[in-house]
Every structure is written in structure tokens, then in C-alpha cells.
Amino acid sequence: MITVNGEHWHADPGLTVADVVARLTDEPRGIAVALDGAVVPRAKWAATEIPDQAQVEVLTAVQGG
């Protein structure tokens, strides 16, 4: 089990950051990912596996300020 944007997800071993992003959107422009409080650069999404119990935050820009 992992947590993505506050929701619990079942996660098979080997699930990567890129897999999580792909489940949310097929247009990942303007998106950034934090894994357990640290930024995962886009270039490392495909190679970064998500450990069990991890907290994943997927953010984008919205109206504000």
C-alpha cells in the first residue's frame, strides 16, 4: 500500500513514479513529484521504484497568488 495525494493505492512491487503519473494523466507537462518529501526529477521517474508505505505527492500549478 502506498499513498498518492492522500489516497491509498494498492502498489505492486516494481511500481515506478512514472507508472503513478501515467495512471493520473497522459499529459505530464507542468507536473512535479515528491516521494517521501523529496523531489524526484522527471528524468528519474521511470527508474524510481516506490517502496511500500511511501507517500507520493503529484503536484501541478493552479490559480493562486
Binding site: 493520473l24 507537462r29 512535479a32 523531489v39 501541478t60 500549478a61
Partner: protein
């Protein structure tokens, strides 16, 4: 002769910087942004919502307006630093409007966390534009840390109370070697003009436009007010006199 606002060596085409918060929908926002003439606009970072789609990012690209991500909602330096890093990754900019507020009631900057976050972000290579209290000493400290501008508030965010302490804004302007951007509290056009007359280099506002009855018209008013205040400052106003002084020749 008009000089161009330059922050960290980058020329900014408009002295009115807009926020995008508070607009009822993207069509209203688009009309207001066009009318404002702004070339730089803030956005916030929030959890991706598959139902929301591209939204404001697509709109700003279409309008050719550059992005200034903020760290709105952050209460600690650690949160603000992570949010800025995520914004840099998502939006391909190392510019950040740094906001670290103390509570929901005032939304006033927490100076201790703000200084800590500013130092970390400057060290990490960011161009930091901090939203700060109208405190000349805090502004000086932020500049000394390497911030590219200082952005003192006129009044609390969204309050529309105008510039509550013009003297402090003038003191900040007098001592600052980086651009001073009046940020927050603007209610109507005369507030924006006053900010510029006090010597601010730019004005950043959102609510005053996006929550006005007619946002596009208020955006026009703000554009003209910033321009008017800019020219009035440079024109050199007459001294205030206690008694009248005739402007026609004596009989």
C-alpha cells in the same frame, strides 16, 4: 524616458504583476489578464486533480504570460523549500514568489521561517522574490541574503485595505538596492497609484481585480494607475504647503 523593470537581470515588460487567484472561471481570468497588460503572473502549486485538466497553465501559455510560482499555503521553511523545488521541476523556472505565512487568520508572513527559507532557496540557486511584512529591517535582511526583490505587503492578503503604513513602504524603498514590489492589500486603483508614488518598482495584486464586479475593467484601472503612479513619482510632485499659493499673476 521610461526604464524597464529589471529583476535579477531579466526585463519584465509590465510593472503590474498579476496573481491568478480568485477568478470565477478561466474566461473571466483571461479577459482580466489581457486588460491588465501583465507579462508575469503568479500560480500556486497544488495536488494534481485529473478532473481539472491543464487549466491555468494552458491559458497562460496561450496568452504568452510568464509564470511566477508561489509557495502559498506553506507555514514552515521546510514546506516552502520543497514547494519551490517542486515548482522548479514542474514549470522549468528557478524564480519563486516565496510565501511563508503564520496563520489563516492574518496570512501575515512568519519572518523567522521566511528568512530561513529565503537563505536555503538562494543557496539552492533560486531567484527569490519574498512576500514580506512592511518592515524595513526585515526587507534589508532579505536583500542581504541575496533575494532578487522584496515584496512588502500594503495590508493583509485579500483584505483590500490599501497601504496601511505608507511611511514604512517609503523607508523600504529608500534603503533598498533591489526592486520593491508592493504585494497584497491593494483594494482599488488609487492604492496601486500610491504604491508607485511611494517609489515602488511594481505592484502585485490579484483579489482587487479577480473579485471586482467587473474584473477586466478593474484590471484596466490598475494598469493605468500603476502607470500614473510611476510617472507621478518621476515627475517630482510639488511640496505640500500650509497656505494657498496663487497660480495666476497678481492683479
Amino acid at each position: 524616458m521610461d526604464d524597464v523593470l529589471t529583476i535579477a537581470g531579466r526585463k519584465i515588460g509590465s510593472r503590474l504583476i498579476m496573481g491568478t487567484g480568485g477568478a470565477g472561471n478561466l474566461t473571466v481570468l483571461a479577459d482580466a489578464l489581457r486588460a491588465s497588460g501583465t507579462t508575469l503572473t503568479t500560480v500556486a502549486m497544488r495536488r494534481y486533480d485529473p478532473a481539472a485538466g491543464g487549466g491555468v497553465l494552458d491559458l497562460l501559455r496561450e496568452l504568452g504570460i510568464e509564470l511566477l510560482p508561489n509557495t502559498a499555503g506553506c507555514r514552515t521553511a521546510a514546506e516552502a523549500v520543497l514547494t519551490a523545488q517542486l515548482a522548479r521541476e514542474a514549470l522549468d523556472t528557478d524564480w519563486v514568489k516565496l510565501e511563508v505565512v503564520a496563520d489563516d487568520h492574518t496570512l501575515l508572513p512568519d519572518p523567522v521561517e521566511l528568512l530561513d527559507a529565503a537563505e536555503q532557496l538562494v543557496d539552492d540557486g533560486f531567484t527569490v522574490l519574498p512576500y514580506t511584512n512592511d518592515d524595513p529591517i526585515l526587507a534589508r535582511r532579505l536583500e542581504a541574503l541575496g533575494c532578487a526583490a522584496v515584496m512588502p505587503l500594503g495590508a493583509p492578503i485579500g483584505s483590500g485595505l490599501g497601504i496601511r503604513n505608507p511611511h514604512n513602504i517609503a523607508l523600504i524603498v529608500d534603503r533598498s538596492n533591489v526592486p520593491v514590489i508592493l504585494d497584497a492589500g491593494i483594494g482599488t486603483a488609487s492604492d496601486a497609484a500610491l504604491a508607485m508614488e511611494l517609489g515602488c518598482d511594481a505592484v502585485l495584486l490579484a483579489t482587487a481585480v479577480t473579485r471586482a464586479d467587473d474584473p477586466a475593467r478593474m484590471a484596466t484601472a490598475m494598469r493605468l494607475a500603476v502607470d500614473a503612479g510611476y510617472h507621478a513619482r518621476r515627475a517630482g510632485r510639488v511640496p505640500r504647503r500650509y497656505h494657498a499659493q496663487a497660480s495666476s499673476p497678481a492683479l
